[in-house]
């Protein structure tokens, strides 16, 4: 625990918060991209220093995405697009500092609720997972993949294809049963498999550079003046609204926790679900506080989802969102295996994660939130082409430094090109990552279970915990199909 309170860890936390606030505020740059570009640096740091920085980046970047929506009606992140009209509207009526204050305070409240549930549920889930054998881990992977398909929000078929592609990428290299090389095309560089972090940098970093080269971001927003006053509008006035709507805040945060918990969903979907529920709740649009309520619902949900995405990641090794997927990759490369044993072997890491979430939501969000609000007008005018040129260079270096291998630069570029193609075709990217993370868990545990039961397939349905997980998978399929049908009507 002393390591967590070292000056290096606290500096990493502060710098992470600052980096996240700048990155999130610039339209077109996402929290995932911010984390992906930080990974090559995090790889060389002690996890107890790198982890707080990553949490600070993702928590603050999700909030900072609201800066563009508030000042220029340009959402900084996909999560903030869910309540764009409402946030811009209320910022025009009550001032941008009030709008951003409402976002920061609701995000902080949602984040704290998500963190409390993270502390409670991750430990409980890890206790249950102690009884898991290879059969249960196989079903956990199936459940995660199934949830990932329905959490995508878009075409189910395309989500399945993205998942399959991710699982295929995970099969490259030596296979887990016979040690036979697969899809290595005679290259010794591919025998060890595709480097996960290198792939992430290509999928989320380099693909952005290609995307913007092909389709430059046109930012035609309406700008509003930043008022001079501020502290009371930012720090105090939003609390009156949040307190008046405390039950809605709780409901939205819980919805965010639920969505964040689903593998592959994350803060963006959490934000859309909660703000849509509030918009459909039957409240009169003429209510002068309607916009406030939609914004509170969306923002309290997104940071709750950021925290809850860590529940399955820590307890089972299932990533709740792309950020946790990237972190799981770093964990594995550092020899840290997520799951119940992590709670026994590295309790200081788990506690530093919990404390970081509390600090990030209680202190960093309001502090960097206010700072970002003060710098808002300047941040959204930073020219994207210059930033993207720099990001292109950072992607190249990031891919190289992990293994000191120039071959990895080719892998990174190939992943960037594939991600560009997938995005153009409307295929979700987070499902590719989910496939890459869960593919090895699925295959290894299936093969181990099959071999130890002498290929008796009924053994997959005999253990009570395995049956419970299978029932959960069927439930997700049922609910997913029902929701898809409902959305088509």
């Amino acid at each position: 625990m002393n390591d967590f309170f070292s000056w290096q860890a606290l500096l990493a936390l502060l710098l992470g918060g600052f980096y996240g606030s700048v990155f999130g505020a610039i339209p077109g740059l996402t929290a995932t991209l911010a984390v992906a570009l930080f990974i090559p640096v995090a790889f060389f740091l002690d996890p107890i220093i790198a982890l707080p920085a990553i949490i600070a980046i993702s928590s603050v970047a999700i909030f900072a995405g609201d800066v563009g929506s508030t000042v220029a009606k340009i959402p900084g992140t996909p999560a903030s697009a869910a309540y764009l009209e409402e946030l811009f509207g209320l910022s025009r009526k009550k001032g941008p500092f009030y709008g951003l204050g409402l976002c920061a305070m609701s995000s902080a409240t949602g984040g704290i609720i998500g963190t409390l549930l993270l502390i409670f549920l991750a430990t409980t889930m890890a206790d249950i997972a102690r009884n898991f054998s290879s059969f249960e881990y196989f079903w956990v992977a199936v459940l995660g993949l199934t949830a990932g398909v329905f959490a995508s929000g878009g075409s189910t078929i395309k989500a399945v294809i993205s998942l399959l592609l991710g699982i295929f990428f995970s099969t490259v290299g030596i296979d887990p049963t016979l040690g036979y090389p697969r899809f290595d095309f005679g290259s010794p560089d591919l025998l060890g498999g595709l480097n996960y972090i290198v792939a992430m940098i290509g999928l989320f970093g380099f693909s952005e550079v290609l995307e913007h080269l092909f389709r430059p971001l046109t930012m035609k927003g309406e700008e509003i003046e930043l008022d001079k006053s501020s502290r009371s509008l930012f720090f105090i006035a939003p609390w009156i609204q949040i307190f008046k709507r405390k039950w809605m805040v709780l409901r939205s945060a819980l919805l965010g926790v639920l969505v964040g918990f689903l593998p592959g969903a994350g803060a963006d979907i959490g934000s859309w679900v909660s703000s849509s529920v509030e918009k459909m709740s039957g409240e009169n649009n003429d209510n002068p506080e309607f916009d406030d309520h939609v914004v509170i619902a969306g923002t309290s949900s997104n940071n709750a989802a950021v925290a809850s995405a860590w529940i399955p990641a820590l307890a089972l090794g299932l990533p709740g969102d792309t950020v946790t997927a990237i972190v799981l990759g770093v964990f594995l490369m550092k020899g840290i295996t997520p799951g119940p044993l992590l709670f026994e072997q590295q309790p200081e890491l788990i506690w530093s994660l919990y404390i970081t979430f509390i600090i990030a939501n209680l202190i960093l969000l309001p502090f960097f939130g206010f700072l970002t609000a003060k710098l808002a007008a300047k941040l959204i005018k930073i020219p994207m082409p210059m930033l993207l040129s720099a990001i292109g260079g950072i992607c190249i270096v990031g891919a190289y430094v992990i293994n000191h291998s120039t071959f990895d630069i080719w892998i990174m570029v190939a992943m960037g090109v594939i991600a560009f193609g997938l995005k153009r075709g409307g295929f979700p990217l987070s499902q590719v990552v989910l496939g890459m993370v869960l593919g090895p868990i699925l295959e290894q545990n299936f093969m181990v279970s099959a071999i130890k039961s002498r290929w008796d397939m009924m053994s997959f349905f005999e253990r009570p915990l395995a049956l419970g997980l299978m029932a959960g998978t069927l439930l997700i399929i049922g609910v997913g199909i029902w929701m898809k049908k409902r959305s088509l009507k």
């Binding site: 099969t171 080269l213 000191h404 075709g425």
Partner: protein
């Protein structure tokens, strides 16, 4: 011009799935004829091939971008950026990455139509930052 939406995507996915399946058939089996390393890749290949076909046949007609000058120039920029990135490992056989990097960033900035002055500035600043963080602070040799 109208084409079927997702037509190309479906065909690419189908072809990829078929290739994965055919390659996985060359993998050995476990003793007593049980499936081995080829099991998962062949399932992935079959599913991808089938879903690729589904996408091809379920696609709707849509308008595509007209082949105007801007589109040609954007495509060219994209291809040039990819080629430049792929050349880095080859050039790195003779020149250290730290010296290739500013040139790469400069050229990418030009592809983004950043002015010469700003392209020089951003490439210098980024390379300096990369040197400071990776070489000096983290001790990585570039």
């Amino acid at each position: 011009m109208t084409v079927r939406k997702n037509h190309i995507g479906g065909l690419v996915v189908g072809a990829l799935g078929l290739s994965i399946y055919l390659m996985s058939r060359t993998f050995p089996q476990l003793p007593e004829g049980y499936p081995g390393p080829g099991l998962f890749p062949s399932i992935i290949g079959i599913l991808m091939a089938l879903l690729g076909i589904v996408i091809v046949f379920s696609s709707e007609k849509e308008e595509t971008d007209t082949d105007d000058d801007a589109l040609v120039s954007r495509r060219l920029s994209l291809v040039l950026a990819i080629v430049l990135s792929l050349l880095i490992p080859i050039i790195n056989r003779w020149i250290p990455l730290l010296f290739i990097l500013p040139v790469f960033i400069f050229l990418i900035a030009l592809l983004f139509k950043v002015s010469l002055k700003w392209a020089l500035l951003i490439s210098t600043i980024t390379t300096t930052l990369i040197y400071l963080i990776f070489s000096l602070m983290l001790g990585v040799s570039l």
